[in-house]
C-alpha cells in the first residue's frame, strides 16, 4: 500500500490562516481572512467585486458612439472625407449643384 510521509501539520489538521484581524482593526486582513478560509473549505470561489465606476455605463456608451466615428474619420482618404461632408449637409441642396459644377470641366463658351 502507499504510505506518504509528511512532516507538516498543515495537511493533517485543517488549520486556518495565520494572519487575523478582529472588529475591523485591519480591513485588508479581514478581507484576506474570508478569502483564505473559504479557499480551505471549498474550491476557490472568485468573488467579483464590482468597483464603483466614476463614469456611468450610459455615459460611457454615449461617448464611445461618437468616439468611433471621430477616430474612424482620421483614417479616411481625402475623397471619402468629402463624401462624408456631403452626407452631413444633406439638407442643404444649394451647395450640391455648385459642387457638381465644380467637378465638371467647364467648356469655354464661344
Amino acid at each position: 500500500s502507499f504510505i506518504i510521509e509528511e512532516r507538516s501539520f498543515m495537511s493533517c489538521e485543517d488549520l486556518l490562516y495565520g494572519r487575523m484581524s478582529f472588529k475591523g482593526f485591519n480591513p485588508e486582513i479581514e478581507k484576506l481572512m474570508i478569502q483564505m478560509n473559504s479557499r480551505c473549505k471549498e474550491e476557490e470561489i472568485e468573488v467579483d467585486d464590482k468597483m464603483e465606476a466614476d463614469v456611468s455605463d450610459e455615459e460611457m456608451a454615449r461617448r464611445y458612439e461618437t468616439l468611433v466615428g471621430t477616430i474612424g474619420k482620421k483614417f479616411l482618404r481625402k475623397r471619402d472625407q468629402r463624401v462624408l461632408q456631403d452626407e452631413d449637409e444633406d439638407g442643404n441642396s444649394n451647395r450640391r449643384p455648385s459642387k457638381k459644377a465644380k467637378k465638371k470641366f467647364l467648356k469655354p463658351q464661344d
Partner: protein
C-alpha cells in the same frame, strides 16, 4: 529490550503512544500493483498520510514522538484522499518544515539576501526578490530588526532553510513585512495549533473583547497589536496563560476585562 508486537492503529487513536511503538495497519485487499482496478475509489483508498511523529517501517507505522495519536477519516474532496494518522505532541523548539508560515526577525542583510531568525537551529535566508512586486531596481524596504511573515520554500536537515514572502502564483496573500508597533512573544507549538484550529473558542472569545490584529507563526511566535498598549498587554497575558487554564477560568478572566 526487544520491541513487542505492534498494536492495531485504530485501537490507539486518542491514546498516548511512546516512541518505539509499532502500529499495524489493516492489510490491504488489493496490494497487487499490477492489476489496475477500474473502479471508483480503488486507487485512492491505498494512500495513507503518515504525519509528524510517525515513520514508515516494515510492519506498519513506527512512532517517533510521544503524544496522543490522532486520526482523520478518508474523504474530504480537496484534501488527501485516504486516512491520515499523526501524533499530537508538545514541544517548544521549532524545526523548520516546508510550507509552514512563520514569523521571522531580520538579523542581517548580506548583499541580496536577508538572514532571518526563525527559532530553529539555523538562520533562514530570504532573497529580496521574494516579495510581491520586487524587482532589481525596486527593492523592498527591510531593515534589521523587522518582522517578516513568510513561508518556507526549502526546509530539510541537510540545507539552510529558505523563506519566501510570495505564494506559487506570485501574490503576497498577506505575507511580507509586519507593520510597526505591536508585541511579539513566544508560546509552545501545541498552543499555536490549538489556536489555529477551525473553531477555536479562545480566539472567538478574544475577538469579542477589543478590536485587534493577530499574526500566528507556526514557530511558536505570536504578534499582537491593539489600539492601546494596555489592551495589547491584556491580550498577550491571556494568550500566554490560556494554555494552562480551563475553559471556566478563561471565561472568568475575560469577564473581568470585558468591562474595561
Amino acid at each position: 529490550m526487544a520491541a513487542g508486537r505492534g498494536t492495531a492503529a485504530e485501537a490507539c487513536v486518542g491514546q498516548v503512544v511512546l516512541p518505539g511503538d509499532v502500529l499495524l495497519l489493516p492489510a490491504r485487499p488489493d496490494e497487487d500493483g499490477e492489476r489496475l482496478r477500474l473502479g471508483a475509489g480503488a486507487a485512492p483508498r491505498g494512500r495513507l498520510l503518515c504525519g509528524p511523529g510517525l515513520r514508515r517501517c516494515a510492519a506498519g507505522l513506527l512512532v517517533t514522538k510521544c503524544g496522543l495519536l490522532r486520526h482523520r477519516q478518508a474523504g474530504g474532496g480537496a484534501t488527501a484522499a485516504g486516512g491520515a494518522y499523526w501524533v499530537d505532541s508538545q514541544q517548544k523548539r521549532y524545526v523548520p518544515v516546508k510550507g509552514d508560515h512563520v514569523i521571522g526577525i531580520v538579523t542581517a542583510k548580506a548583499g541580496d539576501v536577508f538572514k532571518l531568525d526563525v527559532g530553529g537551529s539555523e538562520q533562514a535566508s530570504l532573497s529580496y526578490l521574494a516579495f510581491e512586486g520586487a524587482t532589481k531596481r525596486n527593492r523592498p524596504n527591510v531593515q534589521v530588526g523587522d518582522l517578516i511573515y513568510g513561508q518556507f520554500l526549502v526546509a530539510n536537515k541537510d540545507m539552510e532553510p529558505e523563506m519566501v514572502c510570495i505564494d506559487s502564483s506570485g501574490r503576497s496573500s498577506g505575507m511580507g513585512i509586519i507593520g510597526e508597533d505591536g508585541f511579539l512573544f513566544k508560546v509552545s507549538l501545541g498552543l499555536i495549533r490549538k489556536l489555529l484550529a477551525p473553531k477555536c473558542e479562545i480566539i472567538q472569545e478574544l475577538s469579542q473583547l477589543y478590536p485587534f490584529e493577530l499574526v500566528l507563526g507556526m514557530n511558536g511566535r505570536i504578534w499582537v497589536k491593539a489600539k492601546t498598549v494596555q489592551q495589547t498587554l491584556i491580550i498577550v497575558n491571556i494568550l500566554e496563560a490560556c494554555e494552562y487554564m480551563t475553559a471556566e477560568q478563561r471565561k472568568q478572566a475575560l469577564a473581568k476585562f470585558s468591562g474595561n
